[in-house]
């Protein structure tokens, strides 16, 4: 297990290093003159030169990259151009909000998707299965900004049950924020739901066909016990991986959802940073998002190995 962990960690570090290089390339080298991107076409040469000095753009690229990475690792994330605020507290506060929304989304989506997937597999080929399969295919196709707008129309404008705007106050606790979180979380849930449910259905079906299941049924175990103790234990293994992968989708999804609901998370901050060409802010948000995604994958890998000895020992 220790060797497995060490290998996964090493792999994670290499990937993060290459990804950070990629982020640096995109934000600092690719545009040619970043100072001009930030200040616009009409900027004067002295102003451009001053910004280049401030960003350290006059130094050779490898030096720029290393200084930037080391500064980030030491917690010095710089100052935002758009707001003149220190970036770290801003990004961490928004990250907290995004994590709150992501957590609620996963808490709704994962149990619901597993229940739907198992239900569909147990009734494979009959109408509940068909309904779940077709509905999940349809839901997969709906972009978050469409489902979000529909939910707003129905629950906020027609029924007036929930607020349409989710711009929670910075000091609001989870319970205070909850009513505002429900619609964004439901919107993000719909995207994940179908994907996890379909994979759960497939893996439950596969396990149901195995010999050990037949043995368990034939020796007279009640169906519930067969399902919970034998089938699900094996069938839900791939689901662990799928949930980790869907964190990537969740991050993409949350960027859109937060913009639909004006929710003060990392995704909303990202589009703000892009509108203002706030390069240091963009870099910090990207690194944090990539780090969160990588950690989710690591947790899934470790969990998978804990649950499945074949991987750990192999």
């Amino acid at each position: 297990m220790t060797r497995f962990l060490a290998r996964r960690l090493g792999y994670l570090l290499v990937t993060l290093l290459v990804t950070s290089l990629l982020i640096f390339l995109i934000t600092q080298l690719l545009p040619g003159d970043v100072a001009r991107v930030i200040l616009g076409r009409e900027a004067s040469e002295p102003a451009l030169q001053a910004l280049r000095e401030r960003l350290g753009l006059t130094r050779p690229a490898p030096v720029q990259y290393l200084t930037w990475l080391v500064a980030f690792l030491r917690g010095d994330w710089g100052t935002s151009f758009a707001t003149e605020q220190a970036i770290r507290p801003l990004v961490l506060e928004r990250l907290g909000n995004s994590l709150m929304l992501a957590g609620l989304t996963l808490a709704i989506a994962v149990p619901l998707a597993i229940a739907l997937g198992v239900a569909a597999a147990l009734r494979a080929g009959r109408w509940p299965d068909a309904v779940i399969s077709v509905a999940s295919l349809a839901v997969v196709g709906l972009p978050e900004f469409v489902t979000g707008l529909v939910l707003i129309e129905v629950f906020a404008f027609r029924l007036r049950w929930l607020p349409a705007n989710a711009s929670i106050a910075p000091e609001a606790g989870f319970l205070e924020a909850l009513p505002m979180l429900i619609l964004p979380a439901l919107t993000a849930t719909l995207v994940l739901l179908a994907y996890i449910a379909r994979l759960t259905r497939a893996s439950v079906l596969e396990e149901l066909g195995r010999a050990y299941v037949r043995t368990a049924v034939l020796k007279g175990l009640p169906p519930r016990v067969v399902l919970v103790r034998h089938v699900l234990r094996n069938a839900l293994l791939p689901t662990v991986t799928v949930v980790a992968i869907s964190v990537g989708w969740l991050i993409s999804g949350l960027i859109v959802v937060e913009n639909v609901f004006n929710y003060p998370g990392l995704g909303r901050l990202l589009t703000f940073a892009i509108d203002r060409r706030d390069v240091p802010l963009l870099q910090a948000i990207s690194l944090v998002a990539v780090l969160a995604f990588a950690l989710a994958n690591l947790v899934a890998d470790v969990l998978y190995a804990v649950l499945n000895p074949r991987i750990r020992l192999g």
Binding site: I26, P31, L142, V146
Partner: protein, 294 residues
């Protein structure tokens, strides 16, 4: 120079392969509906400019904010533009950008996957480590970063789609190649002294094709989704282009005044993506491609 064909080759080759695949696609109601709808959208994209009653940015201020009627099937928006015409003309935009983007990604991804995984060794290791790093960024984040720094334009959206999808396609291709590489017929071809490109194209590629076809359909559906999301976020194609995502973004402000201007592009995107998904599902079933966990 003949070698024994792989099972995959049997499914995709032969005089009637195309007809067989088409029949399989229409064998189930879901994929039949999906495939027909996709064909319909492609047709609309082709003839849209011919049948659109108004130009995409033709403004008739006197007729602004009109609800749907016979003359204006989807009504007019806050600027007096004909929503029906804009949706029609937007079909060409999204189908061409998403289609071209996924096509380039599939071709490049297949080439990269075939070549590197066949060669193996350091080339493969380095290529796929780089792809891992690209995939470590959620697609929309990568897209927004690139478009934010390069500036939004159609060409840059294409670059984004390519960068986001080449690694995924390459991975799918690699998984098949690794499987086929050890098969006797490939070893036989090599030992006969066939040059590497011939082995790759004649013996390995046919086995990859079914999985590649399914992946292409899936990429198309994700590309539509991504392009529309970028439009909605204001990072993709810029106003006044009749991009569906952009139309939703613009119409949102006037949702209570002109709900039809919001509903029409939203329904269009949803139907198109669901149709492509249904087609991809049907294709996977017809070609017997099972997709593992990515």
């Amino acid at each position: 120079m003949t070698t024994s064909p792989s099972p995959g080759a049997l499914a995709t080759r032969g005089p009637h392969a195309f007809g067989r695949a088409l029949r399989a696609l229409f064998a189930r109601p879901g994929s039949a509906i999906g495939t027909s709808l996709v064909a319909g959208f492609l047709l609309l994209a082709a003839v849209g400019p011919l049948i659109a009653p108004y130009g995409a940015n033709e403004q008739v201020f006197a007729e602004a904010r009109q609800p749907p009627s016979l003359a204006r099937p989807f009504g007019t928006d806050h600027l007096g533009r004909d929503v029906f015409s804009r949706v029609l003309l937007g079909a060409r935009d999204i189908v061409s950008v998403a289609g071209l983007g996924s096509l380039v990604a599939v071709v490049l991804g297949a080439a990269a996957g075939l070549l590197t995984s066949y060669l193996g060794g350091l080339v493969e290791e380095l290529t796929f480590r780089f792809f891992d790093a690209l995939l470590a960024m959620p697609a929309l984040l990568l897209a927004l970063l690139l478009l934010g720094m390069l500036g939004p334009s159609r060409a840059n959206v294409l670059i984004v789609l390519t960068l986001a999808y080449v690694p995924i396609v390459a991975r799918v291709v690699r998984s098949v190649v690794l499987d086929v590489k050890s098969k006797d017929y490939v070893a036989a071809a090599r030992m006969q002294g066939e040059p590497l490109p011939a082995v790759l194209l004649r013996d390995v590629l046919p086995a990859v094709l079914p999985a590649l076809a399914v992946e292409a359909a899936l990429r198309f559906s994700y590309a539509i989704f991504l392009v529309a999301s970028l439009g909605f976020l204001g990072a993709g194609v810029q106003p006044p282009s009749p991009d569906w995502g952009l139309m939703i973004r613009e119409a949102r402000t006037f949702a209570s005044l002109t709900p039809w201007a919001l509903a029409a592009p939203a329904v269009a995107i949803s139907v198109l993506v669901v149709a492509v998904n249904l087609m991809a599902e049907g294709l996977a079933r017809a070609l017997q491609v099972t997709r593992g966990v990515r």
